[in-house]
Structure formats: C-alpha cells, structure tokens
C-alpha cells in the first residue's frame, strides 16, 4: 500500500506519468500562458503549438499538488488535435472529473488561467 491509494486511480496515473510534460525544445511558434497562486506556490505554464486554427501540440510545466498536475496533463491530452474555437476549460468540471475535493477549486482556476492565457497569447516569435 502506498500514497497512491489516497488518490483516485486516474489522478494517480496522470500525476505519476505526466504525459506531455516539459518545455518545447524550440519555443518559436508556440504560444505560452502562465498563472500562479502564491499561497500554495502553485505555478502552471502551458505551451500550445497552433497551426491553421488547430492545436497541434501541448507542453506544460507545473508545480502543484497531484490534482493540479493531473488536471494540467488531462487537458494537454484532450486539447491536442482540437480546433482552437472548440476548446475550453471548466474548472468545476475538472474537479468532478478528477473527484478532487472542493478545496482544490482554486488550483483548477490557476490551470484554467494558464490554458486560457496560452490560447489568447500571440505566437512567441523568437
């Protein structure tokens, strides 16, 4: 028995595998959005590769609790391949999808901000 039994299986998997985590090798051509919450020192940075109105790829950096990491990773997997005008973040939806406690709502808002800002950002033309 280990710490994983304290988290829903899905959350644990996303937290421990963190698919798509990392920074793009070359930031040129990626949009970037960042958000933070100082009290818990949560920080999320999202990178989106967008071409022809479509999200080709997602990368992220995150410092946060397992639910936060899971939410960021979940959205990354889900957004890849979507047209930019169909994607959105629903913080309460994330909470219930991950069966996270309500006190995690603040962190889901950080995740939303980071994704939203990345979507609205201009390309990083280096």
């Amino acid at each position: 028995m280990s710490a994983q039994s304290r988290y829903p299986e899905r959350v644990w998997e996303l937290f421990s595998q963190a698919p798509h985590a990392g920074r793009p090798v070359m930031e040129a051509g990626w949009r970037r959005g960042e958000a933070a919450e100082p009290l818990s020192a949560t920080r999320v940075r999202v990178y989106l590769a967008i071409a022809q109105g479509c999200i080709r790829d997602v990368r992220y950096e995150v410092r946060g609790c397992p639910f936060t990491v899971a939410a960021v990773a979940l959205l990354a997997s889900r957004w890849i391949g979507q047209p930019t005008d169909t994607v959105a973040v629903d913080p309460r939806g994330l909470l219930s999808e991950l069966t996270a406690p309500v006190m995690k709502l603040g962190r889901m808002l950080v995740v939303e901000d980071a994704y939203r800002r990345a979507l609205q950002a201009a390309d990083q033309t280096a």
């Binding site: 710490a3 937290f15 985590a21 960042e34 818990s40 020192a41 410092r63 946060g64 397992p66």
Partner: protein
C-alpha cells in the same frame, strides 16, 4: 516499507512485548485489590515506577501513570491552573508546543486564564529572554517542551527554569520526544513537572507519565474523578501490562541510551549529508540544537503535497501526526519563519532503534528522485 516516522510512534521493542505478554498471560489482578494477586500487581507497578524514575533522576513516588503524554500535559496545565475571577493565574507557554499543551492553554484562556505565547527564533529555539519578557507577577506556570516533535530542536528548559525559580513560578516540560533520546535529569533541569510517553521510545501506546516534583505536588488537582488510584491524582484501574511495558522500555533505555543516541545521530547525520547535497534543501531548526533522532528538511521549488505523494514506500510525516490529520500546514515550521508552501514542502524524517544504514540510503534515493522529478516538471 521504510519507516522514518519514529517521532510519531515507534514499534514496541520485542523485549517489551515479551514482558507485557507475560503480564497479560499471568492474569494478575487489579493492583488496587487488597488480596494476594493485587499485592503482586502492586509490586510490579512499583517496579515500573522505579524504572521510569531512574531514567530521569526522580523518586519513584513522584511518577504518576497516565494514559499518555497528552493526558500528562493536560493534567499539568489543568491540574495547576484554576481560572478564578479574582485570582488571575497567568500561564506562559510557546507557540511550538504539542497540541496537547496548546489546546489546553487555549481552553484555559477561554475560561479566563491569561496566557502568553512565546515564539521561537529561526533556529527553532524559544529563547530564555523571550520567556523572561513574558513573565508577570501573577505568572504561575511556564510550560516549554524539552524536544520539539517536528524540528527535534532541544529547548533550553534548564535556562528557563533558572529564571522561574527565584520568582516561585512552577515549570512544566513536555519531554515526550526527549525520553530515550537524550539523557534527562529532572534535578539538573530543576523543573517541577515533566510529561513522558512510552510509545515514542519502544514502549506501548496508551501509557505515559506525569512526573510531579515536590514543589508542584501540593498544588496539583486531578482532572478525572473516581477511585483513589495514583494517590488520588489519576483514578481508574491501573493497566498493569501497560505500566510494566513503559517500565521495561525505560529500563532498556537506561542501559543502552548512549548506544541509541550514537545510532540515531549517525543515521540522521548521514541522511542530512546526502539530502543537503541537493540544491535548495535547507534544515528546519539549527543542526547543533537538534535531538539525535529527528531531521526536518525544507525542499525549495516543489509542491509539498506532490512531494509527500511521491515517496512511495518511504513513510514520514510532514508535521506531527495530529496536525497532519487536520491537513493544516505546521504551525511549528511557520514559527521558524517558513510560509505555508515551504512548511508543506518539508519532511520530518525520524529514526529509531531498528532503522538501518540501508534504510537511510534507500530513503535518500527515494527523496532525491522525487524532488528531482518534481522540479524537472516545474516551471524553470
């Protein structure tokens, strides 16, 4: 499983288990009963009392058995301070005490006892000067712990007692984390009351001691009402196997305290050496003040919850077990100057008799891996 949470509770020493079982199987009777089995039980209680007393340099008659250090702490505070409208009885304690003392202090305060809370400095120590500054003419009791249960920092209780003595102020110290980890001498400390717990040093949970020195004894009132056991201070059938277990644990500590201390120190020093070689790892509490069995480290740039979740089969605490249950960041670490996030990204690593060098090596690898992965994942 690598268990580095001995400050929460230690496994019961096999030699203690054996003697407890002998008592349970012999089926001795109620130590208060007048008949033969009762008298035999009484002599076992007396022996246990003597064994505890010897380890702290006290007299057997001053050892009062309780259900643990929590009850002992409560008995010390509630037993000495009675809030009365026209007789303000002031208590001085610290912000880094265990919940048993802090909550008792808050209850006294709510009932009309003035209480001053002294904070610790960044080394984790409550300074004698700060205690002195808090004293008032109506101060009756000062309660400062001997070893903090989160940082392991040893407090200057002798220094605090020294300034209280000439003022006639009684001094209580919670030594739950000190017993079995430091040499303790109530005479040298010159305190008046001391709380002890068996399950922090190889004895069973559910039994502790309040040592009551001769200056405090005439003033102590019981919390619980009932039969006249424990000189009227603690009613209820004395649980013989528990008391014997605590006695044996103290007897063992008496003969191997030096070896235990060496062992604890070697292990925590090694763990500190390995982990502080990582960047952004700092000690919570000054190293030269800490008891040998506890190491508390803060890890920069990682999320505390994620860190704890990443330790796999390594078992440690963030703060004390009680604070952890509430899910609140440690007030002790915040008293050191850490913010909530930094307090949460701290690990208390505490070793025991059965901890091996191999455990330490594996623990260091687990922590290091977890920290590096989380940092790697985080924004640079």
């Amino acid at each position: 499983m690598i268990y580095l949470d001995h400050a929460a509770t230690t496994p019961v020493d096999q030699r203690v288990v054996t003697e407890m079982m002998a008592v349970l199987e012999a089926g001795y009777a109620n130590p208060s009963a007048v008949h033969a089995a009762g008298r035999l039980a009484q002599s076992r209680v007396a022996q246990a009392r003597a064994e505890v007393a010897r380890l702290i340099g006290a007299e057997p008659g001053q050892i009062l058995f309780t259900s643990g250090a929590t009850e002992a702490d409560n008995l010390a505070l509630f037993g000495l301070l009675r809030p009365r409208p026209n007789d303000p009885q002031h208590l001085v304690t610290s912000r880094i005490e265990h919940a048993a003392v802090l909550d008792a202090a808050r209850r006294l305060q709510a009932d009309g006892c003035p209480v001053s809370y002294v904070t610790s400095d960044s080394t984790g120590r409550v300074s004698v000067a700060a205690v002195e500054a808090a004293l008032r003419p109506e101060t009756r009791l000062v309660s400062v712990m001997l070893v903090n249960n989160e940082t392991g920092v040893v407090q200057d209780v002798a220094g605090i007692a020294r300034i209280c003595r000439p003022r006639g102020i009684l001094v209580h110290t919670d030594a739950a984390q000190a017993l079995g980890h430091l040499p303790i001498d109530v005479r040298a400390l010159d305190v008046d009351l001391m709380s002890l717990s068996a399950h922090k040093m190889g004895g069973p949970a559910g039994v502790g001691v309040l040592w009551v020195g001769e200056r405090a004894a005439p003033h102590l009132k019981p919390i619980l009402a009932g039969g006249g056991q424990e000189r009227g201070w603690r009613p209820g059938t004395v649980p013989l196997h528990q008391v014997v277990g605590m006695g044996v644990a103290c007897r063992l500590s008496m003969c191997q305290l030096e070896a235990d201390i060496d062992h604890f120190r070697r292990l925590t020093d090694e763990l500190a050496r390995r982990l502080t070689s990582l960047e952004g790892v700092t000690r919570n509490g000054a190293d030269d003040l800490r008891a040998p069995h506890i190491l508390n480290l803060a890890f920069a740039a990682v999320d505390g919850e994620a860190l704890h979740a990443s330790l796999g089969e390594l078992q440690v605490s963030g703060g004390s077990a009680c604070a952890a249950e509430k899910g609140e960041p440690s007030y002790v670490l915040r008293a050191l100057g850490l913010n909530d996030a930094a307090a949460e990204a701290s690990l208390r690593l505490s070793v025991g008799r059965n901890t091996t060098q191999f455990d330490i090596e594996n623990a260091a690898i687990i922590v290091e891996k977890a920290v590096l992965r989380l940092r790697d994942m985080g924004p640079k």
